[in-house]
Amino acid sequence: MLQAHGLACVRGDRRLFSGVDLAVAPGQWLQVEGANGAGKTSLLRILAGLSPAAEGHIEWEGRPVAEVRDDFHARLLYLGHAPAIKDDLSALENLQTAAAVGGRPLDEATALAALRRIGLKGREDLPSRVLSQGQKRRVALARLLCGQARLWILDEPFVALDVGAVDMLCGILDEHIGRGGMLIFTSHQAVQLQGNGARLELTR
């Protein structure tokens, strides 16, 4: 369970948001909404532990994140704006390296199965530089299929995906929530997920 109380974010002398409270329990999702520049990405980065909050505190399983940082990061999967894909590596190599850095090395068979399911069959060994934007997103999203992370924090996961891929991703997210996973994401699209969810509107 992830809980946050009174989060605030300051960029320069501008206060993006303040007093944000949120809680995500197993089997729940949370969609963060807000206009461009409202601080959605900043909020997700604060929750993931990439940047510190100006005010407020975050708890993971009832304990301050700062105390259980390693345990928290072992159970967290964060996908940011940049897909973290190396152009000179193949989809398979990208996925395997990303998984190993994330602390869960993947064998080739599992990685290949994930890439096939995400719709990259036949493109596993191509250098990523020849893949389209949407296909690169898919390589990044393949990580969702092969980890045991409990908490997913996804920044605009639907960007650059075609209609079929959006449906498939919704299915993957539903599955994760159905398994008792937690999900926090941002999206400008009206996404209908199953299960117990909430929306958080960021306002000044």
């Binding site: 510190p52 964060y78 940049a82 190396k86 000179d88 590596l89 390296t97 190993a100």
Partner: protein, 221 residues
């Protein structure tokens, strides 16, 4: 430890796929070193005297050429965020990147140096000491360089700033590295200089990844 190996493997693989970047630094080293005998003329006594300094300065500059790419690409494509969120300490992953940088940018210089040293009429004993001093010195360059690369990450005009920041820090390595060869040629023995170089390397191996990590965390905020 898995993550350390994965980062090392990935960076070596990337270097192999983009050989041109690696070869540019190597050719730079070769050309800069070769310009001196051409410019000064075939005066062997003089060439022998300046050889250690010239080879070392050229190695410093060549090692620096590839430094601003050390973290820049990872920063740009989001890999650095993923590294910061890894359950493996970021310091260890930074260590993996530095090791990969040395293997691709430092070690080739060490192997090439004796060949280039022949142009300066160095004895085989002096060439051996030169290689040894570079073997101890180039990892030091990668380690110190990593701090500079992390500090200048995302700064406009970071490349020039990086050289201004890092080159002064390279001075001890230069003094003891070139000094080792000179001392040996003067019959004083290179042991003292090499020991000091080794001590600097041990110190940097311990503190540099940690300092670079602190700088990277600030950039990521």
């Amino acid at each position: 430890m898995n993550a350390f190996v994965a980062i090392l493997r990935r960076d070596l693989l990337l270097a192999m796929r983009r050989k041109s970047e690696m070869l540019t630094a190597l050719f730079f080293f070769m050309i800069v070193v070769s310009l001196f005998p051409l410019g000064i003329g075939p005066e062997t006594a003089l060439l022998r005297r300046i050889a250690p300094g010239v080879l070392w300065v050229a190695a410093l500059l060549a090692a620096m050429l590839s430094l601003n790419r050390l973290f820049a690409a990872d920063h740009q494509d989001g890999t650095l965020e993923q590294m910061a969120l890894s359950p493996t300490p970021l310091t260890l992953l930074v260590g993996g990147k530095v090791l990969a940088h040395w293997l691709t940018a430092g070690l080739p210089l060490v192997l090439l140096a004796p060949v280039l040293g022949l142009q300066f009429d160095l004895s085989s004993r002096a060439l051996g000491i030169l290689m040894l001093s570079l073997l101890l010195g180039t990892p030091l360059l990668s380690l110190i360089g990593a701090i500079g690369a992390a500090l200048t990450l995302g700064v406009r005009g970071g490349g020039v700033l990086l050289s201004l920041l890092v080159l002064p820090l390279y001075i001890p390595a230069l003094i003891f590295g070139a000094g080792a060869v000179e001392a040996d040629m003067a019959g004083l023995g290179a042991g003292g200089h090499l020991s000091l170089l080794g001590a600097l390397l041990a110190l940097a191996a311990f503190f540099a990844p940690w300092a670079a990590t602190a700088a990277l965390r600030i950039t990521l905020e």
